[in-house]
Subunit: 379 residues, 2 copies
């Protein structure tokens, strides 16, 4: 069953119970407006990735700012977000298995659905599922542009796929999915430029092969928060899929952020609020947020605006806050804000967002409680 | 909202959709019977830790095998398990914050509730919450026996706490909480013996101080799956809190398991079933279970009974399965069983257990679908 929300709407900030997933609403809104403006200036479409936030309410805000729709990774995410009102969803991932295909095809009767393929057998299976459901599905061919995960090799092979898709009455060839996830977290601008430059050559080559065979790509999708200026300015990609920009996280903050001095500065807008639940030492205290409240796969959280404090040695329900020499140890019962190391899997651990207005001021108040609609949507 | 279950009761094993949290019911039942028998032979009580399974149904099975009650770490877990019928719960952790104390005290009107303290101010706050609720709460003093997390130092300080608890009309002094979490995962028997030996001296010293001051400890609780024979045979601890034994995980399997050749062999009983969703290379394939389906905090999962396959480089929704030279690469669409690196936070990512009977045989069938009742119970 979903957990109780950790706060009431209208409550002052420090009445929020812990651990809680807290949004600085003003910072999130600035991040959303900034990204939307930058993508618009690039002259390309925006289809933000909802695997970050898993929220139909946030997706609606992205669409209101000009997004053509959203991406997600799982059929169950698409179902949850469609139930919340999203009308155009690309599952930017391969969907394998009869039950999931039937659900995807059923959803395509209600809203516009796209999905990716990198295996020829999948094309016929998708078509059959859509035929049985009486729906039509857009299909993008995923190409591996350097992530070494899913996707076929760039080049002429895509023509075989496009021809197969074009033969299927319940499918529509939608273009290419060309996402380079690893490039997002390369630390220096030069590394990111090199990675996206190599990806760009592969995409352009694939598009040329498809064009020569008579296949036009409506969508050439990809890019994330760490590199979207590169894909968006390449003249090749036409639909950007950034997601993390709304919240940012401690790992993204470790990127050296400068594409020619031009990169937008997104703000940390997502935090896990934790309480000091044990303080028996001057060298460390213990907070009530461990692996079950924070995903530590990309490093531990930062302690927000508390120099000398570091989050260490998490266990399931505890984190140790070490106190550097000369730093002020937090008192028993105090609350600390933690900047998650990796937002997406951290969000997935919580049932509720606590949206705070005037964050960081004495007037900070709980303005909203939003469900994490697609929390646990694995299938 | 909770996700749909990934299977139907009665379905054959390979109709289970993925990713799914799968229990080998026979192995789990053998683990439960084995631990119960070994603890009984030690002449001490068993209070298994439900933070592993978060399931009222599994807790009821543990009680049916002789457990006096269960432990959990969070008030919200206690609420979820009490709602499922558990009647005696120790929150083996400190509870800090007015909202949580009020909920804990309310729960103590319905069932037997114990909780731990390591701060004197907390004693009065607990008593006031119980007074307002009209309930009584058992209070254990947590001592730090080597885990360097919560707990006061062993020795005479506990007398001050016991006296304070004894003065409170709505509290009852219940004894000591003396859990050494880090000792569970020390790799060699000698290391584990040394750690629990040191803990034992601290516990015995604390008990002696309390006794001299007129305070008897009904409960001296602690121990986990990696060390329970040591605490249980010490003559000091009288209530064991092992949890992981029901499922085991890949990290526990890395322990050298031999306390004098006497250690019980628990079996892997919990798996994440995943599908090969992309297979574009002979050196690796991609499965549909990443950080959101598996907690990788204690190492990556093992691939069950598939020599030469290794799970690597997880991202949010993907895991890479590398194929060693000479090993058979799994085909596109195949399903693989993964042994989680760490069961407890992996369970917390799923809404459903799929309980399979005759696991690993051609007759394997879905016998049960159990909700993970306390999934996401953070507060």
């Amino acid at each position: 069953m979903p957990a109780l929300p950790p706060a009431e709407i209208g409550a002052p900030f420090f009445d929020i119970d812990t651990p809680a997933l807290v949004i600085d609403l003003d910072a999130m809104e600035r991040n959303m407006a900034l990204l939307a403006a930058r993508v618009k200036a690039l002259g390309v479409r925006l289809r933000p990735h909802a695997k970050t936030h898993k929220s139909a309410i946030i997706a609606a805000k992205q669409v209101a700012l000009g997004a053509v729709g959203i991406c997600c990774q799982k059929v169950a995410e698409a179902e949850a977000l469609a139930a919340g009102g999203v009308r155009d969803i690309l599952v930017s991932n391969e969907v394998v298995g009869g039950r999931k295909l039937a659900r995807l095809a059923a959803l395509a009767r209600q809203i516009k659905i796209g999905v990716c393929v990198d295996h020829l057998d999948q094309v016929a299976l998708l078509n059959e599922a859509a035929r049985q459901a009486g729906s039509r599905i857009d299909v993008l061919i995923e190409i591996d542009v350097g992530g070494r995960r899913c996707g076929i090799a760039p080049g002429p092979l895509a023509v075989t796929f496009a021809a197969e898709i074009a033969r299927c009455a319940n499918l529509r060839f939608g273009g290419l999915q060309a996402y380079h996830g690893r490039a997002q977290h390369l630390r220096t601008p030069a590394e990111r430029q090199a990675a996206i430059g190599a990806a760009q050559r592969g995409v352009a080559d694939t598009v040329a092969h498809l064009k020569a065979a008579g296949f036009a790509c409506d969508t050439i999708g990809g890019a994330g928060t760490g590199t979207f200026l590169l894909e968006g300015g390449s003249g090749v990609w036409n639909e950007l899929q950034a997601g993390s920009y709304i919240f940012m996280d401690a790992d993204y903050a470790r990127n050296v952020s400068d594409e020619g001095g031009n990169a937008p500065r997104f703000e940390h807008a997502l935090f896990v609020l934790a309480t000091v639940m044990s303080a028996t030492s001057t060298e460390q205290v213990v907070v009530d947020a461990g692996h079950k409240a924070l995903s530590n796969d990309s490093g531990f959280p930062d302690v927000w605006q508390r120099p000398g404090l570091a989050y260490q040695r998490p266990s399931d329900e505890h984190g140790i806050i070490t106190v550097a020499a000369g730093a002020q140890p937090p008192a028993w019962g105090n609350k600390l804000l933690l900047v998650p190391g990796h937002c997406d899997p951290t969000v997935n651990l919580h049932d509720w967002y606590v949206g705070v207005r005037d964050f960081g001021t004495p007037h900070a108040r709980v303005e909203t409680l939003w469900p994490v609609d697609a929390r646990g949507a694995l299938g």
